[in-house]
């Protein structure tokens, strides 16, 4: 991070092209989102045409019981899977950064896989696994298990653990270990040194990881679609189905609501990570 000297900046046409490219990229990022918001207030049956201001599509959204129901499923799945993933992911991060133990390398690799595996592959994995597992359990115990809310939560936890542990780990690695050693030297039990020294310091990381987990859970379409059962459709799965059947202005309104929710989560996570020190901002 040395000072950037003048030799770094291109001159003439490349300099202009670089600036123009930067503006174009931002335009590319924001124009679609902006237009989506605008058209969600448009009083026209065609989704991409302006026909005067209306709140009618938001009204339809508010009165659609299917949307309401799937929204509720999504929120419950996201909160539950985040809570479990935060606990497991934080413990995993602590173990990996502060301890050496049997099978650490394998564990490390296993934690990375859910991050880079394509959604479709993970969806296939979970579908086959639950189908097979439920078959076996049904046969052995005479149960009648079916995919649904539970299997969605379990699948979301499986990928969220990794993301939480990566964020918390970055935070832990940027933290000074001598503070913990000082606490132990002053006769703090391991629990006390965690509770009063480590935990307050990694809290922003945990909060950041939790918000990332919430976002990812609310983002997921493919995995949820594969392991959902009747009556346990999440909002993205429901909206995805609607889009495939044909777009309606109501989808614009639902999309804007989802958009506002995710931007709120981003802002919260940026605030949470604000207090980070020199720790890297990976992830």
């Amino acid at each position: 991070m040395t000072a950037v000297g003048p030799s770094v900046e291109p001159r003439g046409l490349p300099r202009f092209a670089m600036r123009a490219n930067a503006w174009l990229v931002y335009l590319f990022f924001y124009a679609p989102i902006f237009l989506l918001i605008v058209f969600s207030f448009s009083d026209d049956r065609l989704v991409g045409r302006w026909g005067g201001f209306t709140l009618r599509w938001y009204g339809e959204f508010a009165n659609n019981s299917e949307v309401q129901q799937s929204l509720w499923v999504s929120v419950r799945v996201a909160v539950l899977s985040t809570l479990v993933a935060v606990v497991l992911g934080t413990l995993a991060a602590l173990a990996l950064v502060r301890f050496r133990f049997f099978g650490k390398k394998v564990f490390d690799a296993l934690l990375y896989l859910p991050v880079i595996i394509p959604d479709v592959t993970m969806a296939v994995m979970m579908l086959l696994f639950f189908t097979r597992l439920f078959d076996v359990l049904d046969d052995t115990f005479g149960l009648q298990l079916a995919k649904g809310f539970g299997s969605i939560v379990v699948s979301h936890v499986a990928f969220n653990i990794s993301f939480v542990s990566i964020v918390v780990r970055a935070r832990l690695e940027g933290m000074n270990e001598t503070l913990e050693e000082a606490a132990v030297d002053l006769y703090a039990t391991p629990w006390q040194s965690f509770r009063y020294v480590t935990f307050p310091q990694i809290l922003p990381g945990i909060a950041g990881g939790a918000l990332l987990a919430l976002t990812l859970s609310l983002d997921d379409v493919v995995i949820s679609q594969f392991v959902a059962g009747p009556g346990s459709t999440t909002l993205p799965v429901f909206v995805f189905g609607l889009i495939r059947r044909g777009v309606t202005p109501m989808i614009n309104a639902v999309s804007v609501v989802m958009l506002v929710a995710s931007v709120t989560l981003v802002v919260l996570s940026l605030v949470a990570q604000r207090s980070r020190d020199a720790a890297g901002s990976d992830g």
């Binding site: 930067a22 564990f107 394509p118 592959t121 696994f129 499986a158 379409v221 909206v239 995710s262 981003v266």
Partner: protein
Amino acid sequence: MTAVAERIDEPVGVADVERQAARERRRRGFLLALPAYAYLVFFFALPLVAVGVFSFATRNRFGGVDLAEWNLDSYRKLGEDIVFDILLRSFSLALLTTAICLVLAYPFAYFIATRSETVRNVMLVFVLIPFWTNFLVRNYAWRLLLGNDGPVSQVSQLLGLGEVRILFTPLAVVIGLVYSFLPFMILPLYAAIERIDWRLVEASRDLYATGRQSWTKVVFPLSMPGVIAGSILVFVPSLGAYVTPEILGGAKTTLLGSYIVSQFLTARNWPAGAALSMVLLTVMLMTTIIYFRSGGRNL
């Protein structure tokens, strides 16, 4: 952790005590990792194995799966024309997406990395916002933009260029994929370029390198880890993309992700779907191994 050893007063050999303390620490570390470890073994590694097992199974007449008879039929299916076309199309679209992302993101990341710290942070926040915004919504926005009589078409008609019919073509899919994954390219590139020691560039200029030369000989090679990491992070999800082609692509442009899903949800040929998932998994593992071999540390 000598602190633990010092508190023990028994006349035992110091080596013994330390070994015991180390063992104790190792046990504690293992116990901390255990819940997540067990969870991932049971709900991730085991499902992964299940895909492998199913890919060798046979589909029976009722659309069910016969696990008893192992064979390579599902993998032979990869050579069939339809499947091969889909694989080829998916690979070329994913490559094209990666190339476009790289061309757009490199100057952009370079621009951010060479700003003052305040400007840099603001610019990065505005990259992160779309990155975190709901994936489905971002793709849907393009459906709206590119649709018949949509804003893009209206603008082009105003300009006298006639109607634009991009929706449901491979071009729409590429636009959607670039839009979805561009931040994955920008962020690692930025991280790599920001780490460059600019004194090296100054040194090259002092040695009479032209701007172009110091870029090709100094800056670009040093930013290589970012280029590779970004390319993997764009290529792998593009190859397995499902939502984007379903929303923006047409019936004639089936891609790998959609084909796999259809094998499970409509065609009910689970072994074939599992075999294709294994292909996707292999590509992912290979690119990741290449990345770590080439000196990358974390994705």
